[in-house]
């Protein structure tokens, strides 16, 4: 095996840097985001159309496939840099294949920047992080982890090298491992996987163990529904995570590493495979890394679809080929981990930050964020919010800023109701919590957890009882089943909640549910099962009135719970001749009165799918939902009388 020595890496980087500079300053480039979510929006069609148009026109343009810039609401995203135009790079979105012709004619072949399709111009911070001055969110955001995401080609290691990649590793290999640990300690970095345990403490413990070999595991088993931060980082900038892992391995003296990622993320697997091979080729991974005496390699492990494997001891069991069930801690993995050896398990974003910390210094990092929660937090903002996407803000930013200033608020003029943070086992916070600073301790106090970064916004059209039922249902399916509290306690909560959404149950059941949740929270074998209490306890704490409406009045205030609503066509609003609802109803539950042409919903046939409401033209909006169901009789009588 050929081994590249250190000098070569410098040469490589210089070469990559020169190519990059040329690309940036004198070439016409078209960047197209093709991460999984971009593909779902049709970015591969956009890419293909660009390729065809450019070939057809014989234009000299470089097409670059990049990852995700976090502006998922505007996908597919296209960034064009046309140096000849004298304009800065311009970001466009959403650009489907229909828009490509216009862009090619306008800004690839000509100097018309097609501003009607643009989101804004792209400027760069001192450290090369791109931002869009026209978008207010970038005033709040601070992108440490997402610095390269959506700007470099993740499959081209030269892009990473050109932006200073693996330079930090070169320097770190010259320093004592203790120094690396103390730098992370000075940064006061806390694990980005959710629990917020101090990273350096874990590393120290593992480092002190007089046992060989030691292992490093990168937890990329992003099983939280509603979270996609780790996927984006690995799809968009895999080398930053690999570099962080090698640095960590040097710090604790590990010889082997694993990236454990989800089976549902085929693109992550694909891109990581390429990135790992590239890293080995240039000698930053493998035997005698960069000519030093340090050996470390990384193996890619594909999970097989089990949420519980996000828990570190379960993940270890899974890598060992066992059922992914957590085991009691202590002993902690740092002492007794993979194959019984000392093991450090950290989240994707933690490793990405380790790279930044060693590059810029722990002191620098500790000044970002709040004293107890340093650095930045990445959130996957989804649900009922305008600008869905990835967000990276300094710790301590308020939820209001994240949801309204970065996320653009709630669409269609609807009312904010709740924000669900920290995955299914996190909590639902209400409007009263909007001014809460986002940091580990504040969120915990409010009953939620930082989690790994899922943030789902719910509005008045979401029912909190149904939301709690949904999370508990997920956890009852996905918890490992090993202990009594997790297997039976969570299921019992689910059975009670399933009654509530049907309007069954009484106030005593509310108490039982609350007590069950408290007991499960405290009595479960692992913290994952224990946190199953959070969705129940927080919804009970902040939205008790909704529970009471279901139980006492058999009414769903958000008009969501199927058993508690009926559909009704308001005669005064119905256009009568349009028949959209009648024709699209999958069960023929809507009939037209022969004489009046008025529509009536046959309740015994209606499956409450909501199609009629969707298809009723907005100028009429004649289809409504009512709750409790009996109310429809009153309405019908009133209309008939």
């Amino acid at each position: 095996m050929k081994k590249q020595v250190k000098g070569n890496l410098n040469d490589l980087r210089q070469g990559a840097h020169n190519t990059w500079e040329e690309l940036e300053t004198s070439a016409l480039t078209v960047r197209i985001g093709t991460p999984t979510c971009g593909r779902a929006a049709g970015s591969l069609d956009t890419l293909q159309t660009f390729r065809e148009r450019i070939a057809k026109e014989g234009a000299e343009a470089h097409l670059i496939e990049v990852g995700c810039m976090g502006l998922c609401f505007a996908e597919p995203l296209v960034m064009i840099n046309n140096p000849e135009s004298g304009l800065p790079p311009i970001l466009y979105g959403p650009i489907t294949y229909e828009h490509v012709q216009r862009l090619v004619e306008g800004f690839v072949l000509g100097d018309d920047p097609c501003l009607e399709l643009a989101l804004g111009t792209v400027e760069f911070k001192e450290d090369g992080t791109p931002y869009i001055p026209e978008m207010p969110r970038f005033e709040i955001e601070e992108r440490l982890i997402l610095r390269n995401c959506g700007y470099i080609d993740p499959l081209n290691i030269e892009h990473y090298l050109a932006r200073g990649g693996y330079l930090t590793l070169q320097q770190v290999l010259q320093t004592e491992p203790e120094k690396v640990v103390s730098e992370v300690e000075q940064a006061r970095l806390r694990g980005r996987g959710g629990a917020g345990f101090p990273t350096a403490t874990k590393w120290k413990l593992c480092r002190q163990m007089e046992k060989e070999p030691k292992y490093i595991i990168c937890n990329a088993d992003e099983g939280d529904p509603g979270a996609f931060m780790d996927r984006v980082v690995l799809e968009s900038d895999p080398h930053s995570v690999i570099e962080g892992m090698v640095i960590a391995a040097h710090a604790i003296g590990a010889s082997r590493g694993f990236v454990y990622t989800r089976a549902e993320y085929p693109l992550v697997m694909e891109r990581l495979k390429v990135a790992l091979a590239q890293a080995r080729e240039i000698g930053v991974l493998g035997d005698a890394i960069l000519g030093s005496g340090f050996n470390f390699d990384i193996e890619l492990v594909g999970g097989a679809g089990a949420f519980a494997c996000g828990e570190e001891t379960a993940m270890i069991a899974s890598i060992e080929g066992q059922r992914g069930m957590p085991r009691p801690r202590p002993p902690y993995p740092a002492v007794y981990g993979l194959f019984g050896e000392p093991t450090v398990v950290d989240n994707v974003k933690t490793f990405a930050l380790v790279q930044r910390i060693l590059e810029q210094g722990g002191e620098w990092f500790s000044r970002i964020g709040t004293p107890n929660s340093t650095g930045t937090a990445v959130f996957a903002l989804a649900g009922r919010v305008e600008q869905i996407g990835l967000v990276e803000v300094p710790m301590g930013t308020t939820l209001r800023e994240v949801i309204y200033d970065v996320g653009g608020g709630i669409p269609e003029g609807r009312q904010f109701k709740a924000v669900q943070i920290g995955g299914p086992a996190g909590g639902c916070l209400s409007e009263s919590s909007l001014d809460l600073p986002v940091d580990y301790d504040s969120l915990k106090e409010a009953g939620a957890i930082m989690g790994s970064g899922g943030m789902v916004v719910l509005d008045e059209s979401n029912c909190m009882v149904e939301t709690a039922r949904f999370f508990v249902d997920f956890l009852a399916r996905e918890c490992c089943g090993k202990c009594t509290m997790g297997r039976l306690g969570v299921k019992q909560m689910l059975l009670i909640l399933a009654d509530f959404v049907k309007g069954e149950g009484d106030e005593e059941d509310l108490d039982l549910l609350e007590k069950l949740a408290e007991d499960i929270g405290q009595g479960c074998l692992c913290h994952l099962g224990g946190s199953a209490a959070n969705p129940v306890l927080t919804t009970l704490r902040y939205f008790r009135d909704e529970y009471e409406a279901h139980v006492k009045e058999k009414r769903c205030p958000a008009l969501v719970c199927k058993e508690l609503i009926t559909y009704y066509v308001v005669p005064e609003k119905c256009e009568r001749a349009c028949d959209h609802c009648v024709l699209t109803c999958p069960t023929e539950a809507i009939v037209t009165d022969e004489r009046t042409r008025l529509k009536k919903v046959l309740q015994d046939k209606c499956v409450k799918c909501g199609t009629c409401l969707d298809v009723c033209p907005p100028e009429y909006s004649a289809v409504i939902k009512v709750s409790p169901p009996e109310k429809v009789k009153e309405l019908e009588e009133a209309a008939g009388g």
């Binding site: 069930m325 009852a476 089943g481 202990c483 509290m485 306690g489 005593e508 405290q522 074998l525």
Partner: protein, 221 residues
């Protein structure tokens, strides 16, 4: 794992006001039992390392630490343990209630009648099958009597994991294991095939450790 040391270091701790000496690394549960202090437990096996920790019936309170599973937590010098702390007792009762609510009430005709650890423990803990719980939806599974010595009744299983542990430890190739996960997790043979068709030697180690009537010897077997 750990090499036996000739002279094990001991620590002193307090359990329910009583000063107790125990070997370093010993779990609270075994230290307490050795002193005649009762703590409910079902899944615990002294030799199991790491411990199973599945039943949650042995929870106790440790000052400065809160509720812990006594089969998992090791003794420490100066540790103060309360087995009768209010929260610990409530949580133990909750775990017992959940297990009872998920267990068929057929004690009259049960082969373990009169010698069921689970029933005796529930009586000792004064916990009855709770009335306000929603019934756990379970499909009744067929009882497997295909094996010459052992009867396997999956409906009775409380998923403590003792049988699987003991079989893996002492026999190696288990004829049964837990399948699926979450609420659906259950003990069964390979693809629900009859136990009699498996490689089970019928040594009976699993029957010995089963606290309920999920695994029983055939009469006269």
């Amino acid at each position: 794992m750990a090499e036996p040391v000739t002279e094990k270091a001991t620590v002193e701790l307090t359990i329910d006001g009583k000063r107790v000496r125990a070997e370093q690394g010993e779990k609270i549960l075994w230290a307490a039992l050795a002193e005649g202090i009762a703590i409910p437990h079902l899944c615990a096996i002294k030799e199991a390392e790491p411990p199973l920790g599945t039943c949650r019936l042995c929870l106790v309170e440790v000052e400065g630490q809160g509720v812990v599973a006594s089969c998992v937590e090791s003794v420490r010098e100066g540790m103060v343990v309360h087995t009768d702390g209010e929260r610990a007792v409530a949580l133990r009762r909750r775990a017992m209630e959940l297990l009872l609510a998920d267990h068929p009430l057929e004690c009259k005709d049960c082969p373990k009648k009169g010698k069921c650890d689970f029933l005796q423990l529930s009586i000792a803990m004064k916990v009855k099958r709770p009335k306000n719980y929603r019934p756990f939806p379970r499909e009744e599974l067929p009882v497997d009597a295909s094996h010459p010595r052992i009867i396997f009744d999956p409906n009775k299983c409380i998923r403590c994991g003792r049988c699987v542990w003991v079989c893996k430890e002492r026999v190696g190739e288990v004829p049964f294991d837990f399948i699926q996960k979450g609420y659906e997790m259950r003990l069964t043979t390979f693809m629900d095939k009859p136990l009699g068709e498996s490689d089970c030697t019928g040594c009976g180690e699993c029957v010995e450790v089963c606290p309920v009537a999920a695994l029983c010897f055939k009469e006269g077997g």
